[in-house]
């Protein structure tokens, strides 16, 4: 065959070879089919480890019980027993090292998440005692009158 056919062909072959070499170095070695099949499982295997290494922020109430037994006991015997400490105090991270203290959120909005009166007949929201925030002692933090850990009305003076 003639030169004018071979020469461009060589160029194309060199380009292809270049891309294959580049691909070899750029695509991570652990790239391949690691799941059920190619359609759903073609990925970098190391990414699973990356996700598993994400630090945990919410520690759970058992963790708090060790150092705050009074609050834990009050909370556990109350109508708020189901609520995790960290729902109101924020994630613990490495508390008490970092942060040294957790947030004391005395905002009314925290309590209104559950206690604002809504009309939701087909949900358990209707079983929680609701108040109208505009008429129930407005502008005063709820925790001035109610104990957030043990809000039971029988215990109120």
């Amino acid at each position: 065959m003639n030169n004018h056919i071979w020469r461009p062909l060589y160029v194309v072959l060199v380009i292809i070879a270049f891309f294959l070499v580049l691909r070899y170095f750029l695509v991570p070695q652990d790239f391949g089919v690691h799941g059920v099949n190619f359609t759903y499982g073609y990925h970098r295997a190391g990414d699973i480890n990356d996700w598993q290494a994400v630090p945990i922020k919410y520690r759970g109430r058992e963790f708090c019980n060790e150092c705050h037994p009074d609050n834990a006991a009050a909370n556990a015997s109350s109508k708020h027993a189901a609520i995790q400490c960290e729902n109101c105090h924020g994630p613990a991270f490495d508390h008490p090292e970092a942060p040294e203290k957790l947030i004391l959120d005395t905002s009314r909005d925290l309590c209104l998440r559950c206690h604002a009166a809504l009309h939701t007949p087909s949900s358990q929201r209707s079983l929680i005692k609701g108040i109208d925030p505009d008429t129930h002692n407005p502008a005063i933090p709820c925790s001035d009158c109610h104990n957030p850990h043990k809000p039971d009305l029988e215990d109120m003076q």
């Binding site: 790239f31 089919v33 690691h34 799941g35 059920v36 099949n37 359609t39 759903y40 499982g41 073609y42 990925h43 970098r44 990414d47 699973i48 990356d50 996700w51 598993q52 290494a53 994400v54 630090p55 945990i56 922020k57 919410y58 759970g60 189901a82 609520i83 995790q84 960290e86 729902n87 924020g90 994630p91 909005d109 209104l112 998440r113 559950c114 604002a116 009166a117 809504l118 009309h119 939701t120 007949p121 087909s122 949900s123 358990q124 929201r125 929680i128 925030p133």
Partner: protein
């Protein structure tokens, strides 16, 4: 054309070799690879949402955002809660202010008040990624950055994602979004870092009312799996054929 016996043999040989060449592209799988391909792993994560128990406090959304470092004030989130108000004239009113991060504190929807006598049903529906068995979002990824793990969770490779957004368009549930900080696709992964260590996802732990539960669908003794197997549960948008693995108790026909 003349053809000697020698030519014939040579030609037959080259043709056969050329025909076989593509077959060499196939390769024999190692024992481990076969196991993976046929795997029936003992673990498949599933999720149960009890919409009757949900009170719309939004503590799950708050916990999710803080646990997974989703920018707190950006209008993106891995999970959210919707409120439905259905009135006697068969109108469905839906809202999810700030994805319900701060709960529902206003009886009105977008300023519109509802006469309790006019309301037939009103309830809350938490939404999250369905970790579908046939995830369309994974099929469309052009670079292999999103995939299904063997325990059924769909993950996104943040180092490999190019942020093209195909998966965000492909998800019929709208659970995927563009992460404003990492500039990649993002979605709920059942808190993969927590469930891999035996902890519950942040939203499950945060829910005071047990409206959200996680389970191993392959374990018939798992109490939550038993509920899914023995009670009446539904999935959202079944007609898309994605085989969602988040099951709902008390789903309504008005839920979209």
């Amino acid at each position: 054309m003349r053809c000697s016996r020698r030519d014939l043999l040579a030609m037959a040989l080259t043709t056969t070799a050329a025909a076989i060449l593509p077959v060499t592209a196939f390769r024999f799988l190692s024992q481990a690879e076969v196991k993976v391909a046929l795997a029936d792993p003992a673990l498949r994560w599933g999720f149960l949402v009890d919409t009757e128990k949900c009170v719309g406090c939004g503590l799950c959304v708050k916990a999710c955002k803080l646990e997974n470092e989703t920018p707190y004030d950006a209008p993106v989130t891995r999970t959210w809660v919707e409120r439905y108000i259905i009135t006697k004239d068969d109108q469905t009113h839906i809202d999810s202010p700030r994805a319900a991060r701060d709960g529902f504190t206003d009886p009105r929807i977008r300023g519109e008040a509802f006469d309790p006598a006019e309301v037939t049903k009103s309830f809350f529906v938490p939404k999250l990624c369905n970790q579908c068995d046939s995830p369309p979002c994974v099929q469309v990824c052009p670079v292999g950055a999103t995939y299904q793990t063997l325990d059924g969770v769909v993950l996104i490779d943040r180092k490999w994602c190019i942020g093209c957004g195909y998966c965000i368009m492909a998800c019929p549930y709208g659970v995927r979004f563009f992460h404003p900080v990492h500039k990649v696709a993002e979605k709920c992964n059942f808190c993969y870092h927590r469930i891999s260590q035996g902890l519950k996802p942040a939203c499950v732990q945060a829910c005071p009312f047990g409206a959200r539960e996680i389970c191993n669908l392959k374990d018939a003794n798992d109490p939550i799996t038993r509920i899914i197997m023995t009670q009446r549960v539904a999935v959202t948008k079944d007609e898309y054929g994605t085989k969602p693995q988040v099951f709902y108790i008390g789903l309504d026909r008005n839920v979209r």
